[in-house]
């Protein structure tokens, strides 16, 4: 065997069609009255007539139809549905901004461990010391990774973390008798940032991106005044570039009494290399379902821990898991806590996965994650540059935004067509049309767990697609051909809304 990277064929989703081609019926269509799958424990508890348990006038007149299938049909149904679903485990998912890295099965084991997964959330601290220790260790690890002073694990996802951060800002300013109204956000920011700002009771001031793909520092400075509560940035930013003047921005924001919020969605790029705390950020969330390999679950669950610098610790949500003087663990509510952000302690099983991932890698391993992620992104950037030039052509971080503008001009094929053609090639599509500031944007994030062989295979597919766009104009509009369904009529879905089976 040679070590040349074109030797191994790469990790495409080469799973050919298994058989058949019909759509899977819904569970409701599979139902037959009288069938069932459930089996419950024999308890010996004395039976009491329903009408004696609940006043009859409160009872439903007709039973609510849920489904009536045998266990066998239930299994076949959901197994078949799973065969209609792409996933990281099937292949490469270079979806920019989403960090679709490999999710270690070991973390699944941890998240299903008896003694962890079967603990009731209201269990007193004395009977759940293991959980509290785990959460405190995770908080401390995340402090080190981020360069921050303290962490709350309550937010259930990145967006919840953003809102937590904004409420912290507002508590901070309020404690200073300061009611500020504005938050600065770059035009390339993720949609959750402005949406959170609104929910936090603030107004958005949009900051343009300069021609280098970075936030326009002059514009930031111009927008700053004593009504600015803070700025939300991600660094590297959404075009995959490091905000080189972050120190200058931080100084300027701090000077007007504002705070800096770090959107941690891109943390994967800088693990162990540079820390948001050291860049001057005051508050940040992490998307552990991106950076720390907890699986995305088809759209969640994730977790969005928020880390803060010292001056914000007293405002954190509570109760917080805390190490007590005697080495045991308990809960404490920070003095000026903004209050509770979650029904219980946060998405605990997701957090357990996070700690497992961190413990396997250790400090050095986390830095390697960043190095390899950035290496992969840059290799891909250069490899595909001929047809898919980067929007900002220089060394990028963990992801690269390229433009299909030239291809569109030459062949009529849009970024969306290219994305759909990639599905046909056995790859998930990159993120398309985001950020909005790049023409026909395709945003590739290869992550560190993908091999060079897989990147090469992607590059070859991208070349084939351009070649096809050139040789058979219009043909990409027909892609994909061999997926479970072909292009979906999204307009129809909105126009003739069918949100449930009963609305058909």
């Amino acid at each position: 065997m040679s070590t040349s990277f074109t030797q191994a064929p790469g990790g495409k989703a080469a799973s050919a069609p298994l058989m058949g081609s019909e759509a899977e019926p819904t569970l409701f269509e599979l139902s037959v009255p009288g069938r069932s799958a459930y089996q419950l424990r024999t308890t010996g508890v004395p039976e009491i007539a329903l009408e004696q348990l609940i006043p009859s006038e409160l009872l439903r007149e007709e039973e609510v139809a849920i489904a009536e299938v045998s266990e066998r049909d239930l299994v076949a149904h959901f197994t078949r549905l799973s065969h209609r679903q792409f996933s990281v485990d099937l292949g490469f998912y270079p979806l920019g901004s989403c960090t679709m890295k490999y999710n270690p099965k070991f973390c699944d084991e941890v998240a299903n461990m008896p003694g962890l997964v079967d603990v009731h959330p209201a269990t007193p601290a004395s009977l759940s010391q293991g959980w509290l220790e785990l959460l405190v260790e995770l908080e401390e690890s995340l402090c080190e990774v981020t360069g921050m002073a303290a962490v709350t694990l309550q937010p259930a996802a990145g967006a919840a973390g953003e809102l937590t951060g904004l409420l912290l800002m507002s508590a901070y300013h309020r404690a200073r008798g300061d009611r500020r109204r504005r938050i600065l956000i770059p035009d390339s920011a993720h949609g959750t940032n402005p949406a959170s700002v609104t929910l936090g009771g603030y107004e958005v001031t949009t900051i343009p991106t300069d021609e280098r793909g970075l936030v326009d520092v002059a514009a930031v400075k111009a927008a700053l005044d004593s009504d600015v509560a803070g700025i939300m940035l991600t660094n590297p930013n959404t075009v995959g570039l490091f905000e080189e003047e972050i120190a200058e921005i931080a100084a300027a924001v701090h000077e007007v009494g504002g705070l800096l919020y770090y959107d941690g969605a891109n943390l994967n790029a800088i693990l162990g290399v540079v820390r948001p705390g050291d860049m001057g950020f005051d508050i940040m969330h992490m998307n552990v379902h991106k950076t720390f390999a907890t699986p995305h679950g088809g759209g969640g669950p994730g977790a969005g821990p928020v880390a803060v610098s010292q001056r914000l610790v007293e405002y954190l949500p509570g109760p917080r898991p805390t190490r007590l003087a005697d080495g045991k663990y308990g809960y404490a509510v920070p003095e000026h806590s903004i209050g509770r952000m979650h029904s219980w302690h946060g998405n605990a099983m997701v957090l357990a996965r996070t700690l497992a991932y961190i413990k396997v890698h250790g400090g050095d391993g986390l830095r390697l994650v960043a190095e390899r992620a950035v290496l992969n992104a840059n290799w891909l950037r250069k490899r595909i540059a001929e047809h898919y030039p980067a929007a900002y052509d220089r060394v990028c971080m963990h992801e690269v935004v390229v433009s299909a503008g030239a291809i569109k001009k030459a062949t009529g094929a849009k970024a969306l067509d290219i994305a759909k053609a990639l599905l046909e090639e056995g790859f998930h599509a990159p993120t398309v049309y985001f950020p909005l500031i790049v023409d026909e944007a395709l945003m590739f994030e290869p992550t560190e767990t993908e091999s060079l062989q897989t990147l090469e295979a992607l590059a070859q597919s991208l070349e084939r697609i351009v070649a096809k766009a050139v040789s058979e104009p219009g043909s990409l509009a027909e892609a994909p051909q061999s997926t479970p369904v072909r292009r979906v009529d999204e307009a129809r879905a909105a126009r003739q809304l069918i949100p449930t089976f009963d609305a058909r």
Binding site: I54, P55, G191, A195, P301, V360
Partner: protein, 455 residues
């Protein structure tokens, strides 16, 4: 050190050469040297999976209150229901677990269809036409419901029954700091929200049915009150009990929310859980989060897709109905599977058995000298408040030694008490819940143990 990266040293060299670089550090050239971390992260060195497993087994061993060790009678929104191996097997399929949000519907029909089925079942339970694809948890659903209802009513005044889970009310209070909603709690009397003491005009009325104390409230009455004020009615419901009760939708609720943990999610120390959310057609454009709809593909084949995306933050940005992005899709898929397993009969069976067992437990407990039911001999559902002659938290500790997680201390849950409970009773009230998993033998043993420890 262990990791999951494929790069061999030869490949790294080859890649750097291709990039015209001689070191990895050059990749980070854009980062000012002064900011770069010198000396690396101060974290323990990486360990192999089996070594880390040992750490986690140690954490697990220290959770002496786990349901695998103590017989669980704790409820308060999190219930120890049967989750059969078939649900675990299907819900753990990696295609569901390791997928992203279904942005490319052509290769995401699996998740999309499962969520469509979930929406259908939640809508049916709620008695409303629309349900979304999940929110974080019960508390998040409450917040989003209040946001929707207040916007719809154009009135930020919220009357919320203190029968709503205390933690959810705490979360609502946290969010109100940002939204500016004026939240007023409606006290419980005899286990029902009592609006008599309330003054002013609410834009939103929120009640829970059942309440967190297990009592039944009056949805029709709340609806009448809401109509009087031109307010929107939000009902927090438990999805299991909902299979028995008249649906909130049929009684006029504008929004129905709930915690979906009971639908196939393990206790999980409180998360990830599953926020349920259903509403009327009238509120459709304000619906927070994802919605899956049925449509056709270019060949006319039935297909599913996320729809009405214009409500969502990635399109609408600061004007979005909510900031939610990642949510609890996998839990929604699990719920669809668990509901498919339970089916029309099974969910009712679980509801009836849970209520029966809780009722039996309460009736036996109150036979003990000095023990009484918080709300007399009213109906209870899956939770019941029990007033002990000693502090509930003390009783819980003592009963752990006897092999039981006997319940939840209402004092702990309410952080010392609130308008949901008589101040004099707070400390001594234990909230118990017996699911369909609890046997008579287990219940009788708990009762005997309570008799012993309260003496």
């Amino acid at each position: 050190m262990a990791d999951y990266m494929p790069h061999t040293p030869e490949e790294i060299a080859e890649m750097l050469e291709f990039l015209g670089m001689d070191s990895i550090d050059q990749l980070f050239q854009a980062i000012p040297q002064a900011l770069q971390l010198s000396g690396g992260l101060n974290l323990p060195a990486g360990k192999t999976e089996p070594d880390v497993r040992a750490d986690f087994l140690d954490f697990a061993a220290k959770n002496s209150g786990a349901a695998s060790r103590l017989v669980c009678f704790a409820g308060a929104g999190s219930y120890d229901h049967e989750i059969p191996p078939v649900v675990k097997a299907l819900g753990s399929r990696s295609e569901f677990v390791t997928a992203y949000t279904p942005y490319q519907p052509e290769v995401a029909q699996g998740v999309l269809q499962a969520v469509f089925e979930f929406q259908t079942m939640v809508a049916r339970l709620a008695g409303l036409p629309i349900a979304n694809a999940s929110l974080y948890d019960g508390a998040a659903s409450l917040v989003e419901a209040v946001n929707l209802a207040a916007a719809s009513a154009k009135n930020p005044v919220v009357w919320i029954s203190s029968g709503v889970h205390p933690h959810w009310r705490q979360v609502l209070a946290t969010f109100a700091e940002g939204t500016g909603h004026q939240v007023h709690e409606v006290p419980l009397i005899n286990g029902k929200a009592n609006f008599e003491s309330m003054a002013g005009t609410p834009g939103v009325v929120v009640i829970a049915n059942p309440t967190y104390l297990g009592t039944l409230d009056n949805v029709a009455g709340a609806k009448a009150l809401a109509v009087t004020h031109g307010a929107k009615l939000v009902v927090a419901a438990d999805p299991i009990t909902a299979s028995l009760l008249k649906s909130p939708g049929s009684q006029g609720a504008d929004v129905v929310i709930g915690e979906g943990q009971a639908l196939g999610t393990p206790l999980s120390f409180g998360g990830p859980y599953l926020g349920l959310f259903a509403c009327t057609d009238a509120e459709l454009r304000r619906l927070p989060g994802r919605l899956v709809g049925e449509t056709l593909d270019v060949d006319g084949t039935r297909a599913y897709v996320t729809t009405l995306r214009a409500r969502e933050q990635d399109i609408r940005r600061e004007k979005a109905t909510s900031n939610v992005c990642s949510n609890q899709t996998l839990m929604a898929v699990w719920a669809a599977i668990q509901l498919g397993w339970l089916g029309t009969q099974g969910i009712r069976e679980v509801a009836i058995r849970s209520i029966q067992a809780t009722r039996y437990l309460r009736d036996e407990l109150v036979k003990i000298d000095g023990v009484s039911a918080l709300t007399g001999d009213t109906h209870v559902t899956r939770d019941a408040g029990i007033v002990l002659p000693i502090e509930a938290s003390v009783a819980i500790e003592r009963l752990a030694d006897e092999g039981f997680l006997a319940g939840v201390s209402v004092a702990a849950l309410t952080a010392g008490g609130d308008s949901s409970i008589d101040a004099g009773l707070v400390d001594n009230t234990l909230l118990v819940a017996a699911t369909e998993k609890r046997t008579r033998v287990e219940i009788d043993a708990l009762v005997a143990a309570v008799g012993k420890v309260v003496r």
